[in-house]
C-alpha cells in the first residue's frame, strides 16, 4: 500500500527535481527539497491513499533530524495503525 523506501526516494526526487537524495540525510540539509515539495508529495499520496490517514504530521521535524527513512517509517506505522483500527 505504501511505497518502498526506494520508490519514496524516487517520488521525492520527482517532485523536487533533486538529482539524488540520500534517505539518511536530514531533510534540513537537503537544499533541493523544501516544505512545498513535501506538501506536493503528500497531496499526491493522500489522493492515491485517501483512507491512510496520513497528514502533514508525517513531516514533523522539531529537532531537525527528520530523514526520508524516518518519513517512510512513519508512513508504515500510520498505515499499519490504520489497518489495526479497521479490524
Amino acid at each position: 500500500m505504501i511505497p518502498t523506501l526506494e520508490v519514496l526516494v524516487e517520488q521525492m526526487q520527482a517532485v523536487s527535481g533533486a538529482p539524488s537524495i540520500d534517505p539518511d540525510a536530514p531533510l534540513v540539509e537537503l537544499s533541493e527539497i523544501d516544505s512545498m515539495d513535501l506538501m506536493e508529495w503528500l497531496f499526491s499520496f493522500q489522493s492515491s491513499h485517501p483512507d491512510a490517514g496520513v497528514d502533514a504530521a508525517v513531516f514533523d521535524n522539531e529537532d531537525g533530524s527528520l530523514t526520508i527513512r524516518t518519513v517512510h517509517e512513519r508512513l508504515e506505522r500510520a498505515v499499519s495503525a490504520d489497518a489495526v483500527s479497521e479490524r
Binding site: 512545498m36 506536493e40 497531496f43 493522500q46 502533514a56 513531516f59
Partner: protein, 330 residues
C-alpha cells in the same frame, strides 16, 4: 431571465515596488531562493496615504470609465477585501462615497476567494435587479504583515482590481462553484482585534494584530480545494478543461498554480499569471489579472474564461465565463 456582461474593468497598483532582491536582503536570504519558492520577483506595497479604500476607488473609477458609467449609474457596489479600511463601517461605505454611488454598498470577506464570491453573488443579484453592479477586489496585506515575517513578507502585494457588470442578453456564466471549510480557520489568520480577542495593549505588544500563515496547510488545501472547485465548475458547465481558452487562477504562488494545473490537466498556454510582478494581492489578484489579460487581448469574444481561487477560512470559488455571452435559449 436577465443576464449580464462585463463591460468595464480597471486596476490600481501602488507605485512603490519591493523587489525580491530587497526583501532577500531584509530577510537574509538569496533573491533566487525567494523566486524559486514562490515565483515572485517584485510586488507593490502601499505608501503613506494609500489604503484599501483608496486603491478600490481608483480601480473602481477606472472600471466605470471604461464602461462609460458614473457612480450615479451603479445600483450596487460590492467590495471584496480581507484588509478593511477600519473595523467599522464597511470599506464599501468609504468607496461608495468617494465614487458618488447612489445604490447599496456591501463588503465580502472570503479572503483571496472574495472577488469570485462577489462575482457569483452579483450575478444572482442581477437577476432580481438588472442594473449595473460594480465589483472591486482590494487588499493591503503589506500593512497586516509583521516586518520580520519572512513567510508572508515575500508573498504579499497590495492592489485593487474592479469590474462593472451591466445587464445583457447573452449568457456569460456557464458554470460556478463556491464553498468553505470553516474547520481550517488557522491556516491564515489575524488573531486580535475582533470580538474573540479584543484589542488590548497586550495584544498590540504581542504582535497579534499581524497575520500569520501556516504555509504547509495552505499549500496542501489550496491545491486540493482549487482542484475540486475547478472540476465542479467545468462539470456543471459540461465543458472539458481542454476547451477552456484562458485560466486566471488566484495569483498566490507559482508552485501552487503549477500544481493545480498539473492535477487538472490545464496546460501552461491556458494560464495567465502576473504574480511575478505583483505578488499575492489576495482579493485583488484575480480582477487585476483579468484586467491585464483583457488589456493584453488574451481574451477574445467567445472565449471560455475560467476564474478560480482559494482563500483563508478556508474558502474556494470558481466561475466559467463565455466572454461576450452565449446565446440564451428562448
Amino acid at each position: 431571465m436577465t443576464t449580464f456582461g462585463i463591460t468595464g474593468w480597471g486596476t490600481a497598483l501602488p507605485e512603490r515596488t519591493l523587489t525580491s532582491a530587497e526583501l532577500g536582503e531584509r530577510f537574509g536570504v538569496d533573491e533566487q531562493w525567494i523566486v524559486s519558492r514562490c515565483g515572485i520577483r517584485e510586488r507593490r506595497w502601499v505608501e503613506d496615504g494609500q489604503t484599501t479604500a483608496s486603491l478600490a476607488v481608483d480601480a473602481g473609477r477606472a472600471a466605470m470609465d471604461r464602461a462609460g458609467l458614473t457612480g450615479e449609474d451603479i445600483a450596487h457596489l460590492i467590495v471584496a477585501t480581507a484588509t478593511p479600511e477600519q473595523p467599522s463601517p464597511a470599506t464599501s461605505a468609504f468607496v461608495h462615497h468617494e465614487l458618488g454611488i447612489s445604490g447599496s454598498a456591501h463588503d465580502v470577506n472570503a479572503e483571496c476567494s472574495g472577488f469570485v464570491y462577489a462575482l457569483i453573488m452579483a450575478t444572482a443579484l442581477m437577476r432580481i435587479d438588472p442594473r449595473p453592479i460594480l465589483i472591486i477586489g482590494s487588499d493591503t496585506h503589506s500593512l497586516t504583515t509583521a516586518p520580520d515575517d519572512r513567510d508572508l513578507g515575500i508573498l504579499v502585494g497590495d492592489g485593487a482590481g474592479a469590474v462593472v457588470l451591466t445587464p445583457g442578453d447573452g449568457e456569460w456564466l456557464l458554470g460556478w462553484d463556491m464553498g468553505a471549510d470553516g474547520s481550517r480557520t488557522n491556516s491564515l489568520k489575524v488573531l486580535a482585534g475582533g470580538s474573540r480577542m479584543p484589542t488590548t495593549p497586550q495584544t498590540v505588544e504581542d504582535g497579534l494584530h499581524f497575520a500569520t500563515i501556516n504555509g504547509n496547510e495552505i499549500y496542501l488545501n489550496a491545491v486540493r480545494l482549487t482542484i475540486g472547485t475547478v472540476r465542479r465548475t467545468l462539470a456543471s458547465a459540461g465543458v472539458d478543461v481542454s476547451d477552456v481558452d484562458v485560466v486566471i487562477p488566484h495569483q498566490a504562488n507559482i508552485r501552487i498554480i503549477n500544481s493545480i494545473a498539473s492535477h487538472t490537466g490545464i496546460v501552461d498556454e491556458q494560464v495567465f499569471t502576473n504574480l511575478e510582478r505583483y505578488g499575492n494581492t489576495a482579493s485583488a489578484s484575480i480582477p487585476i489579472a483579468l484586467s491585464e489579460a483583457l488589456d493584453a487581448e488574451r481574451v477574445s469574444a467567445g472565449d471560455l474564461v475560467l476564474l478560480a481561487g482559494f482563500g483563508a477560512g478556508m474558502t474556494w470559488a470558481s466561475v466559467l465565463l463565455r466572454w461576450g455571452g452565449a446565446e440564451v435559449a428562448a
